[in-house]
């Protein structure tokens, strides 16, 4: 890794990370504020919940709402894997493509740096930013759920839930990074990146709602997040962790291999 390049990249991408962090913190705080104000009517609404169609029940996950963690899980998926996931994939694609698009790649690659050092520095920047947002999201959720439940919280479940969220965000970003490495002429693929995150999410939802071709769920990274945080035996499943770590390591390794011999066409 090269510290000089890392520090520049860290500084350059700070604005986007701060904005995303603010969105996540405000959204989380708002989520808990809503819960606090409707906590009293949740038990009365249970009967109404069972009158809703199955598809909507799957979507809302209302049955778990009597506990703050159960409620939080429903919204968690929107702001951690989706909002941070979208930012993560945008950041992942931007780190290399911006240099090629702005033609500063010629400057960077004519410095005494190896291709591996460039990849390592950019990926390290990416990890720090995405981990930072996820830690902030966790702290906000911890305080939000603690305040709402008068600190009757399941800390272990919250940590596990956020770890899964963090892993899927990292995977999306690494996927974006890998895509720009293998593209002949790297360009910003913000739209495609967001499309991948939302596309895999809706793909996952559709299969869950309609209950058919369940095996296709394995194609979506969302399948590998365990959202059953209210379950007593909630924990890390080896097969899920192997998927996230395996996919991430494979994509990182391939990024190094391809970038080492990539022609930079500026």
């Amino acid at each position: 890794m090269n510290l000089n390049l890392f520090l520049k990249e860290f500084k350059n991408n700070l604005k986007g990370t701060v904005i995303t962090s603010l969105v996540v913190v405000l959204y989380t705080a708002f989520t808990f504020f809503i819960y606090a104000s409707m906590k009293t009517i949740i038990s009365q609404a249970t009967d109404f919940y069972y009158t809703l169609p199955q598809s909507l029940r799957v979507f809302m996950n209302f049955s778990q709402w009597d506990k703050v963690l159960g409620y939080y899980v429903t919204y968690f998926v929107y702001f951690v894997p989706i909002i941070i996931g979208c930012y993560s994939i945008i950041l992942g694609t931007k780190l290399l493509s911006k240099e090629e698009q702005n033609k500063t790649a010629e400057f960077l690659l004519s410095r005494p740096l190896s291709r591996n050092q460039i990849i390592s520095s950019k990926l390290f920047t990416f990890f720090i930013h995405i981990l930072g947002i996820n830690i902030l999201a966790f702290i906000t959720a911890l305080f939000g759920s603690g305040i709402v439940s008068k600190w009757e919280i399941n800390l272990k479940s919250l940590i596990i839930l956020h770890t899964y969220g963090c892993l899927i965000c990292l995977l999306f970003g690494i996927l974006g990074f890998f895509i720009t490495v293998v593209m002949k002429r790297a360009k910003a693929i913000t739209g495609i990146g967001i499309g991948i995150v939302l596309g895999t999410y809706f793909f996952d939802m559709m299969i869950r709602i309609f209950g058919r071709v369940q095996f296709l769920l394995y194609l979506s990274p969302f399948k590998y997040i365990n959202l059953k945080a209210h379950s007593p035996d909630y924990g890390f499943d080896a097969w899920r962790l192997i998927y996230f770590f395996g996919m991430s390591c494979l994509l990182i390794m391939l990024s190094y291999v391809f970038y080492r011999k990539k022609d930079i066409l500026v």
């Binding site: 000089n4 702005n102 033609k103 004519s110 410095r111 005494p112 740096l113 291709r115 011999k261 022609d263």
Partner: protein, 299 residues
């Protein structure tokens, strides 16, 4: 040891030609001109030297370091000025140069400030605010701060006004006197002619000639212009070395390749009023080789 040495260096972009079978030898300490029209493969060659691109076949070495394997080592001892300067626009000139210097683990010393003064560079301005010429000046400074053994210049004078061009040539000559080898790529023949020791012409990705600049001009061609006395019929010349014969307002003009006494013997038969024999400029030499190479290819 050569500063640059390539053997059969070839680069294709898919099916498109970049350079083909490039064999170059640049001696340490010389100023080597690399001339060719746009799209001839000059920039591809330079990008191969800098490991921005990788060869399809063949090999290249810079101070004995392999261009495909030893990129970081090569770039530690090479300075580069690109044709089109694209730097980080939000940085100031000083921030950019400091950023560049940190990659070489050096700090900006009096050598840097001398360059800044010589080029009249404003360090506080942002890159985005700079004209093309000023960006080029930044490129010159950042290419020299680490005192490179080899300077690779890709069309360095484009965008610079004549005064700054002269400053640039002074700086480059000074660097060369200190032992820096200079690889000077350009399509401006007059720049190469006054500045370089040896040159290579490149056309359609192939080197068509590589030689010492003086011998190239001396041994090969002369420009002959003569005017016949009034009332004399037009004539044709039979000497085999006559090339590109044309009528101009000053009379008849042509390039001649061969022994001058033989030509003079033929010309003495004509009623010549005035005759001049001059050295051709490099552009004429280049065009001659360029055209004869094209003719050979067509045949």
């Amino acid at each position: 040891m050569y500063a640059i040495e390539t053997e059969g260096l070839t680069k294709y972009y898919g099916k498109d030609r970049g350079i083909i079978d490039l064999n170059l030898k640049v001696n340490e300490g010389e100023i080597f001109g690399f001339i060719g029209p746009n799209g001839s493969g000059k920039t591809t060659t330079i990008r191969l030297f800098l490991s921005l691109l990788f060869p399809t076949s063949g090999s290249g070495k810079i101070f004995n370091y392999d261009i495909a394997k030893d990129g970081p080592r090569i770039k530690k001892i090479v300075g580069f000025i690109p044709t089109e300067v694209n730097y980080y626009e939000t940085m100031t000139v000083k921030e950019l140069i400091e950023y560049s210097a940190r990659f070489y683990k050096i700090s900006l010393d009096h050598h840097f400030y001398q360059l800044v003064d010589a080029l009249d560079l404003d360090l506080s301005r942002k890159i985005v605010e700079l004209s093309m010429g000023n960006k080029k000046k930044v490129a010159v400074v950042q290419s020299l701060i680490h005192k490179p053994r080899l300077l690779i210049l890709d069309e360095p004078t484009s965008g610079l006004d004549p005064l700054i061009q002269n400053h640039l040539f002074d700086i480059l000559n000074e660097q060369n006197e200190k032992g820096t080898t200079i690889f000077f790529s350009s399509h401006v023949l007059s720049d190469v002619e006054k500045f370089c020791h040896r040159i290579a012409f490149i056309k359609d990705g192939r080197i068509i000639i590589e030689d010492d600049i003086h011998s190239l001009k001396e041994k090969l061609l002369s420009r002959i212009t003569f005017r016949l006395k009034e009332g004399t019929d037009e004539t044709t010349l039979r000497s085999p070395g006559v090339i590109s014969l044309e009528k101009t307002k000053d009379g008849t003009s042509f390039l001649y390749q061969g022994e001058i006494p033989l030509l003079l013997k033929e010309l003495s038969q004509l009623p010549i009023e005035k005759i001049t024999i001059t050295e051709p400029d490099l552009e004429e030499v280049f065009m001659h080789y360029y055209e004869s190479h094209s003719r050979r290819e067509k045949n």
